[in-house]
Symmetry: D2
Subunit: 290 residues, 4 copies
Amino acid sequence: MKPQIITFLIKCPDQKGIVSKITHFFYQEGFNLVSAQQYTNSIDGMFFMRLRIESDDSVTITKEQLEERFARLAPAYDIVWSVDYGITKQKVAIMVSHTTHNLYDLLQRNKEEKLHCDVKMVVSNHTKLKPIADMFEIPFYHLPVTKDTKKEQEQQLIDLFDSNDIDLIIMARYMQILSNDFINHYPNKIINIHHSFLPAFQGANPYMRAYERGVKLIGATAHYATQDLDEGPIIEQDVERVTHESTPTTLKAIGADIETMVLARAVKSHLNNQIIVDNNKAIVFPETGE
Amino acid sequence: MKPQIITFLIKCPDQKGIVSKITHFFYQEGFNLVSAQQYTNSIDGMFFMRLRIESDDSVTITKEQLEERFARLAPAYDIVWSVDYGITKQKVAIMVSHTTHNLYDLLQRNKEEKLHCDVKMVVSNHTKLKPIADMFEIPFYHLPVTKDTKKEQEQQLIDLFDSNDIDLIIMARYMQILSNDFINHYPNKIINIHHSFLPAFQGANPYMRAYERGVKLIGATAHYATQDLDEGPIIEQDVERVTHESTPTTLKAIGADIETMVLARAVKSHLNNQIIVDNNKAIVFPETGE
Amino acid sequence: MKPQIITFLIKCPDQKGIVSKITHFFYQEGFNLVSAQQYTNSIDGMFFMRLRIESDDSVTITKEQLEERFARLAPAYDIVWSVDYGITKQKVAIMVSHTTHNLYDLLQRNKEEKLHCDVKMVVSNHTKLKPIADMFEIPFYHLPVTKDTKKEQEQQLIDLFDSNDIDLIIMARYMQILSNDFINHYPNKIINIHHSFLPAFQGANPYMRAYERGVKLIGATAHYATQDLDEGPIIEQDVERVTHESTPTTLKAIGADIETMVLARAVKSHLNNQIIVDNNKAIVFPETGE
Amino acid sequence: MKPQIITFLIKCPDQKGIVSKITHFFYQEGFNLVSAQQYTNSIDGMFFMRLRIESDDSVTITKEQLEERFARLAPAYDIVWSVDYGITKQKVAIMVSHTTHNLYDLLQRNKEEKLHCDVKMVVSNHTKLKPIADMFEIPFYHLPVTKDTKKEQEQQLIDLFDSNDIDLIIMARYMQILSNDFINHYPNKIINIHHSFLPAFQGANPYMRAYERGVKLIGATAHYATQDLDEGPIIEQDVERVTHESTPTTLKAIGADIETMVLARAVKSHLNNQIIVDNNKAIVFPETGE
């Protein structure tokens, strides 16, 4: 196997010796362990692991053999797993409506190769942001939607994403509520940015409501989209300090920068295989010097 | 008038020339302006000002004359005002139940004269924290309460506070809901600490709910107590980063430090005359090198 | 005078009645005070003020008359002042070498009109970033420099900036040390971003040195360029938490986002007339709901 | 072995299979792995591990046997290790001079059992803080020092600490520079708090120098004391935002709270066996829900 770093994400019931068993497997096959991160949820008794292993010339098995052998080991421990060889970039679709800051930021990071992905398209229910996609030479799809055409438009989205093998959908302030059918089609594959520190100000107009409540901090939250609006597993959150001088307009401007950073960090963690979802929570392993 | 710094808090409808008029008044009386902070709420058209003025030998009028003259000026501009000569420390009562960290911190700051106040008493519905009050030689009052005796106990509290001329009541994790009658008796004179970044996790058990929701930040909020539980004007908030490893127990430990700092800062701002309440919002002027 | 908001920045020796005198002047001329922020440096006895005033139909004087009359008032109080009518955008030049993140961010904010400025040009000693300037349709000037041509190149820069009436020069990671002659030509008009929380890690390679020192926080600092490298008045700083896992490469990636935000905020404060320089310190008045 | 959680700290050259080998050892002896945290310094090729293992009735070996067996395994991998059974609290001495905030905080956390330690004594070169030690009923030792008696006083300190089996010395603003001889006597056993975000403002009067430099953030740093003043391995740092209004006095007050939190967190990490020192860096493993 040629030199490369391979990431395994593992989830199974907690059990004695599990770390020893798993790490021994990779040792036996000749891999070097670059990093091993684990988490045990002692309440539901589940074990989670992120392993980065390195192959070199001494590794004689192929990818297929590696997967086949690990698949043979897994059932004994009830292991659910995935593997990423870090070679194929994930294919990403960005959904937007009117808001520009997240789109600029993601397209710039994509272009600068700061994210391990390949943004394949920008999709919007409006045409306003087409010039930004054009600047970065990313295909732009305009799929307008009305109350009556929602079902059809979502089918168009699914067709578009699936025919392009999209791995990750980023809702960069896409201002439409997606149906359960759509969301269930992409479990833990849709990242949404909400412009408040959830669970505060769920739903519409969070900055106006933050202004009205007179909070001293505003924030943003990136989470996986689930059937329950703004209630999916939280990946990343951050806040900034505001004052009584802040108006709805200045809150929006301050918030834009928080949204930008929070979404970028969440997307990076996802693409970097740092996340395992455990019920409604996102276990986000810290970056390990990769 | 002997050299001293005097703080005026002023609130009136916004109107042309108001700053000029007010500052001219103090100039004319011979005062030097140490700092002048203002805020205009352009939505409700109200004007707020915090003025710190300095007297010296050239000031010939007395306190009584100063107040009488300002009181003569005020009606023309619909000014509501208060003045503090910084000489008399505010008398403070701290209400607690079982939680120790805020109490230790406030008593230590009081003893070290880091707060411009005089903590007169610790009051609790339990006896558990009496030893802490004893350590700092602060009188401790045990006023137990049951559902049936709530009305009587609150009357005891009022009698106790009023007979001691208490200026500020700090609810340092006092785990009883106070009646509207009690709260209305002390408008903008009760500061409560809530162990979440409001409006998230209003009500009971915020750390458990933060754990269940899988948030990546936890926080605390200090606010004036009003009739609506956890909905009074927010004075100060802060957060700390947490991870999936955080359990309800570790969240509580991390949160304790946030609560401590947030309450201490809020109390300091109040005692320092930095706050004016505008409807349900606290205008908190920043410290000005005092 | 047509309705507009005008900003005055004022600096003079502290003196009794100065706020009253200044605010009275504007009142008399018919202006409404939108905000008045002041700061007294009690050590060097200097007074600083940022006034935002609003004209309406009742203001009968012209801009020229306003300035003439204020200029007549000023000498009596030793006032140094400037005024901005908020109509003409400042003309900005961005200097870069190889680093892309600040340039993308500033050009995007400029395009989206989030900064009250007009970026006139990007200037570099290399050609690498020309495509980014092209994307945003901003003229790009390549002015290479060697040890021997430094003097000539700086003269070319001065000619270029002055012939374009450049008001603000942003050094967005321009990796050349500018001569004193150049810097003195633009007092408080050059903003530099340094990739550390100054005064830590002044000079070259701050991320490598941060790595070697094992700090738990890294940061960035935006400051006005002065003759002393990395020692000019600090406008804005921020930090992020890092860990032992952070390598020089990950520190650089984390730092890029801090640099981006810190420089953007500093530039915004400058363009928004929030800054007065007092010796080697930048007084940065907070935003006031503008 | 009775049910308990045991923490191993391990340091050795990085080598293939090391995680597998170590975890297998504990599995074989019947222990359950509660958490396993590791770090590989790829530059110097060293491997670090923090293991928390749980014994239950199925573990038949004694502590002595466990240690003996691990000691037999260790040389093959060049492992340097330590073990803590979490039963004996570390014995702590706190050294102070005049500053009260860290002392109050540490004694309160000790009393409230928020730190896994037993504060045995407070030692000072002055008597000023004796009343605080008295409040918490902790023995206070007054060991005055002059230039001429430094050597003798340090010998007294060593005698006092060693005769009391002190495990950790906390310099909570002890304003004396300790000799190399003293420091070398307690490698990685002295934690110092410095009142700046190192390496900024090393040495004396950091708040005054922060004021003079006009920084927009001030901070504090907890580190192990080494021969090079303020240059030991950094355990924890934090900062707060300040403004041009901040005076040396207000900086000191803001800084006191940062110092308090930073030192408390560093001490907690140390007592919790979260730290391994690697050359001049402190690897601080995050808390794992313990």
